[in-house]
């Protein structure tokens, strides 16, 4: 297996950069993509993240060549490929529904792209074997796709998409049909493949955890626009709008207005101080659950924090951490996450507590 890895990785080409310029797509009056600009770097793992209907698949299909944009261009290596048909683009693609050819064996499926390239027979055999080994299916080459489990089928699809050493691999929710455990396992395998192959991966998902786990960078789509582009850390720690904050990770958001160096909560009328670095405009105040601390009501909290009074609704034990669900006196629901040994005594369902955060951990968003 290691030998197979080495030969494959030394022979792969490097990834190609993809540049998407002002790409729009309309179906009649329905605008699905609106002037999308996106520069995908050579060899990076870029994830298109967004809710259902946000245009992820449409954008991916435009990159693949299955869909023509209404306006805009797609360039690879600086070459305009907007009107190049898919079979000339040389991108690998993995579909959510696997799309294996049911009338061919696993090995023939994987050999398909090599045969189209008229690769010599002996080499086809060798590369098919190598690639199946790479996805740990070396022993199943003779089977029909229908005789494999969903996870195995998707690995075959993966092998088939990389066997011809494309410089770009496109994946449209490839793990969407698999159960959680298998999904997590394949996430790691796909990441490993990406590191070994060094080619550009464009990955579509609506699952934020998957996006955070796998990506070098994430492009968050909403209604056909990219609302934020950045590393997983940036998306989580520095969301640029309320939508990003809510979509990526759990969040506590107060709605209100900024006045001077304070944020006035619309619901409770309470005023919270803002940190030095906080953005001075915006109508939302974000506190991530791990920044929300809890202390029993009779324990005083330090001066440097802001706090709300709340009642514990539920306390969920998750092994290494504990999620505490709270309701403020103004009726807003909050979530706090604490490490298990650090959860203070007296934090049980129905208890009155202070929920507080360091002013530097809260940020103001649109």
């Amino acid at each position: 297996m290691t030998a197979a890895l080495e030969t494959t990785s030394t022979q792969t080409s490097t990834g190609a950069p993809i540049s998407i310029n002002a790409v729009s797509k309309k179906y009649g009056d329905n605008t699905v993509l609106e002037s999308v600009d996106l520069d995908i770097r050579a060899g990076e793992f870029l994830t298109l993240l967004g809710a259902s209907g946000s245009g992820k698949s449409t954008l991916l299909n435009i990159i693949a060549g299955f869909t023509r944009p209404t306006a805009g261009t797609v360039k690879v290596d600086g070459r305009d490929i907007t009107s190049l048909p898919p079979h000339k683009r040389g991108f690998g693609m993995v579909f959510q529904h696997y799309a294996l050819f049911p009338h061919m064996s696993v090995a023939d499926n994987v050999a398909f792209p090599l045969k189209r390239q008229k690769v010599a027979k002996a080499e086809i055999q060798q590369r098919v074997a190598e690639t199946l080994e790479l996805v740990e299916l070396g022993h199943l080459g003779g089977r029909r796709p229908s005789e494999l489990s969903g996870g195995q089928q998707q690995r075959v699809a993966l092998a088939r998409a990389i066997v011809f050493r494309p410089r770009v691999l496109l994946m449209d929710e490839p793990l969407g049909a698999l159960d959680k455990l298998l999904r997590e396992q394949l996430q790691l395998e796909i990441r490993r493949l990406h590191q070994e192959m060094g080619i550009t991966f464009v990955f579509v998902t609506h699952d934020q955890d998957e996006a955070l786990t796998m990506s070098d960078r994430i492009a968050l789509l909403r209604n056909g626009r990219i609302v934020q582009l950045g590393t997983p850390e940036q998306l989580y720690a520095e969301p640029n709008c309320r939508y990003s904050a809510e979509f990526v990770g759990a969040s506590n958001i107060f709605t209100g207005t900024v006045q001077g160096r304070s944020f006035i909560d619309d619901v409770s009328g309470q005023s919270y101080r803002l940190g030095e670095a906080a953005d001075q405009s915006g109508r939302s105040l974000l506190v991530r659950p791990e920044h929300l601390n809890i202390a029993p009501a009779d324990v005083p909290v330090p001066d440097t924090v802001e706090q709300v009074e709340a009642i514990v609704e539920d306390c969920i034990y998750l092994g290494s951490s504990r999620t505490v669900q709270l309701r403020t006196d103004a009726g807003q629901r909050l979530v706090a996450r604490t490490n298990v040994p650090r959860t203070p005594d007296g934090v049980v369902s129905g208890a009155r507590v202070h929920a507080y955060w360091d002013v530097r951990d809260a940020c103001v968003l649109d």
């Binding site: 898919p86 079979h87 693609m93 049911p102 796709p145 005789e147």
Partner: protein, 301 residues
């Protein structure tokens, strides 16, 4: 994925065949009894006559294989038999050539056009073969609408002889066979996942190549069913070749009718019919080795 699902439902993986036990077959519950009337009916109107026919071919006028020897003693009869197979083959090829693209088009158009196209195939199907064949005779004969139109348009000087020729027979038979080919092919094509073609293109196949390597093989079961239905049916055609064909295109069905109703050689007619039956069975067995007949003949209904 539809096809994958059906594949797995045959459960070939799980191998181990169930032991055939007589008790399994004889075990009737209340509902099983409902099949009895049909069984009795089939035995009475199909099974018994078949046995009678078989025995007659061996006993009438005298016991032995004389009737069968007679078939091969005169060069005319083997020729008619050969002719029957030839015509059936031609009809099958022509029918397929028309039905395949037609069925393909049906999978591409919207639901309204699909219904219209289905109707176009089925309306003749619901009309009596006799009526249709007569209509074709009127249409195709020398003074019929086809030839007179072409003559009026000065496309031809002399009428093209269509009736009483091979062309005429094929014309008429294809028309009868078309629904039997279009329906199974269409049913199979509809079950093919179009996204497989996209996948093939993403792997470097030209659109035509993707069609040829993915779509065509996946539609093969429907084609096999169509070929079988068309060919086996065509072997037994009687009315159409009788009305549209000439003496040179006599088919075995006509010959049998002739022996029964004109010459009154019942034993000989029975031998001819048995021969037709046996060759058809043989074909089914051979074909059955290549296609899962049960699966694909069932699916169209």
């Amino acid at each position: 994925m539809t096809s994958a699902a059906t594949d797995s439902s045959t459960g070939r993986l799980r191998g181990r065949p169930r032991p055939l036990r007589l008790s399994r077959w004889l075990r009737f519950d209340g509902w099983g009894a409902l099949v009895l009337p049909l069984l009795v009916f089939l035995v009475l109107v199909f099974g018994l006559p078949l046995v009678v026919m078989l025995s007659r071919s061996l006993t009438d006028p005298s016991f032995g294989l004389q009737n069968y020897r007679d078939i091969f003693a005169n060069a005319v009869y083997p020729r008619v038999l050969g002719n029957t197979f030839l015509i059936a083959a031609i009809v099958t090829v022509v029918t397929l050539a028309l039905a395949y693209p037609y069925a393909y088009l049906m999978t591409l158009v919207g639901p309204v056009w699909r219904m219209i196209m289905l109707g176009l195939v089925l309306v003749p199907f619901w009309t009596s073969i006799l009526v249709r064949s007569f209509a074709l005779v009127l249409f195709l004969r020398d003074t019929g609408a086809f030839n007179s139109t072409l003559q009026t348009l000065d496309v031809i000087d002399q009428p093209i002889p269509l009736i009483r020729t091979l062309t005429g027979v094929v014309f008429g038979m294809v028309q009868v066979a078309l629904p039997f080919a279009v329906l199974p092919i269409f049913a199979t094509m509809q079950g093919i996942d179009r996204r497989l073609l996209q996948a093939a293109e993403s792997l470097g196949a030209r659109p035509a190549g993707a069609f040829w390597r993915i779509f065509v093989p996946l539609s093969a079961p429907g084609v096999a069913a169509a070929v079988l239905l068309t060919f086996v049916q065509a072997l037994g055609y009687y009315i159409t070749p009788a009305l549209l064909g000439g003496p040179k295109n006599t088919m075995i069905g006509e010959l049998i009718v002739q022996q029964v109703s004109t010459v009154l050689r019942f034993g000989f007619a029975a031998a001819l019919a048995t021969l037709l039956l046996l060759t058809t069975f043989l074909l089914l067995v051979v074909a059955g080795r290549f296609v899962d007949l049960q699966k694909h003949l069932m699916r169209q209904t």
